[in-house]
Symmetry: C2
């Protein structure tokens, strides 16, 4: 096995505590994975990621395939060597980006043909091709090409996506040449519980090292998402990590953890930071508001991130964000990353100490916002 997962607390449903070991380190779950689309978590150095407690990041196969190309990354020793990050890495399959970013995509049962969003050049992804790219990229955990239909979609379209996702997974399994990477299976099925169950049965029959729930946070309601999670997670093997793709703000995380999820990724915390919105214990702080123009407090006096501990004031950060200065988004990004690593520490402690329900209520009171449409957006970080 390329990875080792130890379930420390919890079971098939409800909050779980675990430990995941990869060839590049061990860390506790539930875990949040910052997104490093183009082999960099936007604006942040690897040293800074270590500093704020990040253990694993996600990189986007679609983007890295197009630029700089898998050969260049492989020659540099894979993503770890290329970007000088010795922590763990997960690569997605690129399928989601093909459907959300690329032009003129053409889906068939064998794969998907598309044009680059960068230069319009024509390309084709098949399950085998994606595995070859991900083996060149060399992440610790890799995802198979799947068919992720938009929401809403006809039942027949979702049925087709489930069948295709399962067939493509079987082809991905056969195409693998490296044994030092963990391949996760992806469960599709929209918000239809019977199709989720059908897909989960087929995918888990392949005995993979982990399982992902895809096709959520694509426009469905918060209630549809949580209901789908509640119906799907218990069908996954209790002793394998479960990864909810594209979700990662505090409110969504606690609700997914409550339903048995172990791993998360999301561009929102870093993207909103670049626009000047940061997480603080009370909720979200929008730096552009005029009230912060002369506010000499740090973002969060209790935070130990380089922005807060460094004494940079809200007034200064607001100035930098308004003036479009890179240092501004660097500091807000590193703050939000530290907020989330500490949030996950607190979440795990609440499970270990038997007070997850009160933690969950507190999080929802501070971070729940109407609508769930701002999460899994198109096209990487």
């Amino acid at each position: 096995m390329a990875i080792r997962f130890t379930l420390l607390e919890g079971g098939a449903a409800g909050p779980r505590l675990g430990r995941l070991e990869t060839p590049h380190g061990a860390f506790d779950t539930p875990v949040f994975m910052p997104v490093g689309t183009q082999a960099t978590v936007k604006s942040v150095s690897p040293a800074e990621l270590y500093q704020v407690g990040v253990d694993i990041i996600l990189a986007n196969t679609y983007h890295l395939y197009l630029r700089p190309g898998p050969e260049i990354i492989a020659a540099a020793g894979g993503l770890h060597g290329f970007m000088r990050w010795d922590g763990s890495i997960l690569t997605d399959s690129g399928g989601f980006q093909v459907f959300s970013l690329a032009a003129l995509r053409d889906l068939d049962d064998d794969g998907v043909t598309f044009r680059s969003h960068i230069d319009g050049s024509a390309h084709r992804f098949t399950p085998e091709k994606v595995i070859a790219i991900e083996e060149a990229l060399g992440a610790d955990i890799i995802m198979p090409l799947d068919d992720c239909p938009p929401h809403p979609a006809e039942r027949s379209r979702i049925e087709a996506a489930v069948e295709r996702t399962v067939r493509w997974l079987e082809r991905a399994v056969r195409a693998r040449e490296r044994a030092d990477q963990a391949l996760f299976g992806i469960v599709q099925g929209g918000v239809l519980a019977d199709l989720r169950a059908q897909c989960a049965r087929a995918v888990t029959s392949l005995d993979l090292e982990g399982y992902a729930i895809g096709g959520l946070s694509v426009g469905e309601s918060f209630e549809e998402m949580t209901a789908t999670l509640a119906a799907t997670a218990p069908l996954l093997p209790v002793d394998r990590p479960r990864y909810l793709m594209g979700v990662g703000t505090p409110d969504y995380i606690v609700e997914a953890v409550a339903r048995g999820i172990d791993m998360f990724d999301c561009v929102m915390p870093t993207r909103m930071a670049r626009n000047g919105t940061v997480f603080v214990p009370g909720g979200r702080l929008v730096l552009r508001h005029a009230r912060y123009a002369d506010d000499l407090e740090p973002l969060d006096p209790g935070c130990d991130c380089p922005a807060c501990a460094g004494g940079f004031s809200r007034a200064y950060l607001r100035h930098l964000i308004r003036a479009r200065e890179v240092l501004g988004l660097r500091l807000t990004t590193i703050h939000n990353l530290r907020f989330l690593t500490r949030f996950m520490e607190d979440l795990r402690a609440s499970i270990a100490e038997g007070r997850f329900e009160s933690f969950r209520r507190s999080v929802l009171a501070r971070f729940r916002r109407p609508g769930g449409e701002d999460h899994h957006e198109a096209g990487g970080s």
Copy 2:
């Protein structure tokens, strides 16, 4: 005196070694000052500036007056507190930016009226107003409002600029309220030696703490610039620091040091870094060139900057620059800053060891490029 300058070697002309003490530290001259237009050296944190050996930075009064405004900066303890930089700071007068960036400027003998390049709002700078702004910003060294005509200009226009610059300097001196900042006088006069001499006589008669040569690197030829420096620098008091405004690439620096200049600032090293061009011992390296696509060497194997010592390859940096990733310009910027601080160390050592002329020839062979038009560009960093 707000600052103390000790001339350690050299005289009225030719290369000099000195030591400059300000309320925020002491450092050797000749010195290069990175430009931090909007209270940040673009993309770099104060901790990183310390790390690569920067002692003093320049900030732009025009930009900071417009945004966030001097009141907010003063309330934060001045620029040092606002941007959390404990090293030395010099602020320019804003005059150059008014003439290069602002719209609808209207110059008269009392001051200059202009419209903000940000929102079109109307503003007026007078010598007194600029001193008040710079006292609120609280830099260690401040510059008076001057009249910097374009190049080329009629002799009568340059004569008027010299007269106005001197009159405005006298008003600036009278307007000062703080004693803990050093005010430098600016010598104008275009490339006309007699007007430079006339201006130098008038400006130095005021017995200021330092002197600047303005109005160069605005489009004149390399030869015109060096001839003007050779004619002007010897007219300045030997025991005061001399600052050549807006100049700061290796070839220009050695030629100006050869003519008795002690202080430099320039946006080029950081601006070219953001475009992917870096200084290496052999000259300039343009990362966008295809030859670096799979080059796994660092920018300069002998460099101790965070980019080179961190093991980031040319291939990775090229990828980041092409993908417009912030980490790319962060790393190229910090590399160029470290290159320049080490370049100044080497330059000072060559003077101390009596081998400046061979150092100078070596620099010109590697860094001299035809045309001198890419230096003092419009509008800050």
